[in-house]
């Protein structure tokens, strides 16, 4: 025979265990879990600076082309890296919650580089392009 006090305890237990506790617990659990993801993001920012330095390298190549006198229209100029970014795909997570970032590098040819409008349009489209690549990757 269950006494009324036990019923009361049961009701409070249902209230706390069935709603309040899981709701709060899930918040802190996810917050702790994604902290690892944030560290990885910070790391990729550092890595980005290495990739961005490729821009200088590419510019140097262009400079070399100029120095060697290959400046005629027929010459194929080296492609220039104008923007790079990295994404952390949720699917790249391993069992320990660590992730392997993906690097996306945009290569833009000299025709676009010479057209400021086209270049601006392309650079502004970078986030969209990254999202598309990311969603295509996730589908696989």
């Amino acid at each position: 025979m269950i006494t009324m006090d036990v019923w009361l305890l049961l009701r409070i237990l249902v209230y706390i265990m069935g709603g309040v506790l899981p709701f709060i617990y899930n918040y802190y659990y996810v917050k702790r879990k994604v902290k690892g993801g944030k560290e990885v993001n910070e790391k990729t920012s550092e890595e980005n600076s290495i990739v961005v330095s490729d821009f200088t390298f590419s510019s140097e190549l262009r400079g070399m082309g100029i120095e060697s006198g290959n400046t005629t229209d027929e010459t194929i100029e080296p492609v220039t890296i104008v923007s790079s970014t990295s994404i952390v795909s949720p699917h790249a997570y391993d069992d320990r919650g660590k992730s392997n970032p993906l690097y996306v590098v945009l290569l833009i040819d000299h025709n676009v580089m010479r057209n400021p409008e086209a270049l601006t349009k392309m650079v502004l489209n970078v986030p969209k392009i990254v999202n598309n690549i990311e969603s295509k990757f996730n589908k696989k």
Partner: protein
């Protein structure tokens, strides 16, 4: 900066919670508030917390899987099983729209005297015209602001608590400690109605898709959870205020929409006017959102998750919008006339609808939980078990409530 962040969340949080109070919530919470008084408050809060927890899971599913619930279910569980989610959601949605059409028609009938069966088709035509609008953001803002007049319930609750200080302790005690009630057949049916009114199953599907479109990142999930928590606080506050105001001012034998409007009697002649404006705006807002959700569901079932703009521009949208409004209008007429023949007022109509919404809403909840079980690395074993228990309990409450409603227990 933190203060500004809090204000920037609290403002829209309060507005969206109040504008989310459509006729199903107001009808059911007024009804249970008038019958049970403060004793039903803890169930309203518990139902809101459970819905908020399911919303948390839906966010995680959206961020990690990058696909809507319908698309992902189709790919994992197959077309046939996903069709069950689609049918149950569509049923819940058209029933919600139908009761909102009845609610608005009955309210305008009380105010203007025009028969409700003439108002209902006119209102449906208006809804259809609004649904076909390409630019919706401006209208949405106006409707949200107009529905904010329903915050009158919160003001009236504060007024009641100030004028009757002893009820503050009573209110807090009833919120923290579940009170003793006579757990009869009627109680289970009413619990079912409360769950149905609080549920809004379409929100779960919508939330996942909007998270994908926003491109939310993993580290942004806790911020989204804070938004959900703020939403939970305000939704609970708005729902509780309706029940408290009903407990304080509405007649105990609540039956018609006029009885429900009577809960606002301390406001005198302005009360019915505010109720009318608020219900008209919030119901229109809810119906337009549900129509979009239906289009979203069918689009996801046939193709992929995409932006709202693409869906509204698609041919499917026109078909789904017209079909949804037509079926809802037919249900509204069938339901209202059958209650006229077999007896029962507006309170019974709202309760019937909420029970049906509750009966169908556990299906999408189950699929969200099943998808959550596959979310790596964010899924916690504890939450996996608890969410399974919650959906299990929802099914049990629905079965017991349904048996009670049929007079079998």
């Amino acid at each position: 900066m933190r203060k500004f962040r809090i204000i920037s969340i609290l403002g829209p949080g309060l507005i969206s919670a109040v504008s989310g109070l459509e006729i199903t919530n107001i009808g059911v919470f007024t009804y249970v508030g008038a019958i049970y008084g403060f004793k039903i408050l803890w169930i309203i809060v518990l139902a809101s917390i459970i819905i908020a927890l399911l919303q948390q899971l839906a966010v995680e599913v959206g961020v990690v899987m990058r696909e809507g619930v319908i698309v992902k279910s189709r790919k994992i569980f197959g077309r046939h099983l996903t069709l069950i989610v689609l049918i149950s959601l569509f049923t819940a949605n058209v029933v919600t729209i139908a009761i909102n059409i009845i609610g608005v028609s009955y309210t305008l009938n009380v105010i203007s005297g025009i028969p409700w069966y003439l108002i209902a088709p006119s209102f449906s035509l208006l809804l259809f015209a609004l649904a076909l609008r390409k630019e919706y953001a401006y209208l949405e803002r106006i409707l949200t602001l107009l529905s904010f007049v329903l915050s009158t319930y919160i003001v009236l609750m504060v007024y009641y608590l100030i004028s009757s200080p002893s009820s503050i302790t009573k209110l807090i005690m009833n919120l923290i400690i579940p009170p003793e009630v006579d757990m009869g057949r009627q109680y289970f049916i009413d619990i079912l109605a409360v769950f149905g009114a609080a549920a809004a199953p379409y929100a779960l599907i919508f939330q996942t898709s909007s998270i994908i479109m926003k491109g939310l990142k993993l580290h942004e999930i806790p911020e989204e959870f804070i938004d959900i928590s703020v939403g939970l606080i305000f939704t609970s506050l708005a729902s509780i205020s309706v029940a408290v105001v009903a407990a304080a001012y509405a007649p105990e034998n609540i039956s018609t929409i006029h009885d429900m409007i009577l809960a606002l009697k301390p406001l005198g002649i302005i009360g019915p006017l505010l109720f009318c404006v608020g219900i008209l705006a919030s119901s229109t807002l809810a119906i337009e959102t549900i129509i979009l959700c239906n289009a979203y569901m069918f689009y996801e079932y046939s193709t992929e998750t995409t932006s709202l703009k693409d869906i509204v521009a698609s041919k499917l949208y026109f078909k789904v919008a017209s079909l949804t409004i037509l079926i809802s209008l037919l249900i509204a007429f069938a339901h209202a006339f059958s209650r006229n023949i077999f007896g029962g007022g507006f309170a019974d109509l709202v309760r019937d609808s909420s029970i049906l919404i509750s009966l169908t809403s556990w299906v999408p909840a189950l699929f969200v939980v099943l998808l959550y079980w596959k979310v790596k690395p964010l899924a916690s074993s504890f939450i996996k078990v608890v969410s399974a228990l919650i959906v299990g309990s929802l099914i049990v409450v629905n079965v017991v409530g349904m048996l009670g409603a049929l007079g079998l227990s």
